[in-house]
Symmetry: C2
Subunit: 128 residues, 2 copies
DNA sequence: AGATTAGTTTACGTTAACGTAAACTTCCCC
DNA sequence: GGGGAAGTTTACGTTAACGTAAACTAATCT
C-alpha cells in the first residue's frame, strides 16, 4: 500500500529548513523528479525521503554526486543480476566510508576531551 | 619536551595526499603559520597536527572556518577566565555536533541494511 | 657554468551548490 | 476584476576551496 501523501515545494522547504531554490536545484541535476500538475511540482513521500537522504548526506559532508549514489541504493529499482551485484558493492563501499567516519568522530571526540581537560586545568590553576 | 621534528611542505603534502597549493591555501587564510628559513616554510609537529585536524574536519564535512574553531581548541593557548569559559562552550557545541553526526550515520547504516536486504531478496527470487 | 629540482609569489581560472533578480502565469480573495 | 500570494522559468551572480600557469629564486648535480 503506497503512501498517497503529497507535498508542494514550500511545504518541503519549510520542513527541512531549506529554500525552494535548493529543492529545484536538486531537480535540475536529476536528484529529484516530482510529478507535475500543470507546471506545478507535486512531491510524493518517496521524493520526500530522497530529499531527506540528500540532506543527511550533506550533513555528513557528502557531495550531491555521492548522494546520487545513495539515492540509487534507496530506490526500489529494477535490476538485472549484474546491476544488483554492483549495487551490493556500492552499499558495502558506503558502509566502509561510514565506518571510517565513525573512527574519525571518535578521534575528534578524544581530542575534545583532551582540550577540555587542559582547559579545566588552566581554570583551576593546575590543581590535581 | 617539545617535539623538534620538522617537515617541509612537500613532505606534508605526500603524507596527507594533498597538494602544496592546498597547504599554502590554509596558510593564506590563517589556519597555519609555519616558521620560515629564508622564505622557505618549515613546519613543526604542531603544524602537522593542525593540518591533520583540518583534514579530519573536511572528511566530516566541516568547512575551513569550522576547522578554525577546532584548531583554536587544540591550541594550548593563553587564556583569561572568560576566554576559557567560551572555549569550554565551543567544545561542548562541537561534541553535540559530533553526537548528531553519529546519529545520522546510524540512520544511514540502517538504510544501507534495508537496501542490502531488498537487493538480496531480488537476487534470490524472493525466497524467505 | 649550465641545467635540474624544490621552493616561492602573484594572479587569474574553475567547480559545486546554491543566491538573487526579473518577468511571467494561476489561483484566490474581496 | 484588480491585486496579492505562491508557483514557474531563465539567467546572471556569488562563495568556498582550491587548480593552474607564469615568472622568479636558491640549492644541488654533472
Amino acid at each position: 500500500m503506497p503512501d498517497q501523501h503529497t507535498y508542494n515545494i514550500s511545504q518541503l522547504a519549510q520542513e527541512f529548513d531549506i529554500t525552494t531554490r535548493t529543492i529545484r536545484h536538486y531537480e535540475d541535476i536529476g536528484l529529484l523528479a516530482p510529478d507535475r500538475k500543470g507546471q506545478t511540482r507535486i512531491y510524493s513521500s518517496g521524493d520526500r525521503t530522497k530529499l531527506k537522504l540528500i540532506l543527511r548526506g550533506k550533513r555528513l559532508g557528502f557531495s550531491l554526486e555521492q548522494s546520487r549514489n545513495i539515492i540509487e541504493m534507496y530506490d526500489p529499482a529494477s535490476g538485472n543480476k549484474e546491476q544488483l551485484q554492483s549495487l551490493l558493492q556500492g552499499i558495502e563501499q558506503q558502509r566502509q566510508h561510514l565506518k571510517h567516519q565513525l573512527e574519525e568522530i571518535n578521534l575528534l571526540m578524544t581530542d575534545l576531551d583532551e582540550a577540555e581537560r587542559i582547559c579545566r586545568e588552566q581554570l583551576n590553576g593546575n590543581q590535581p
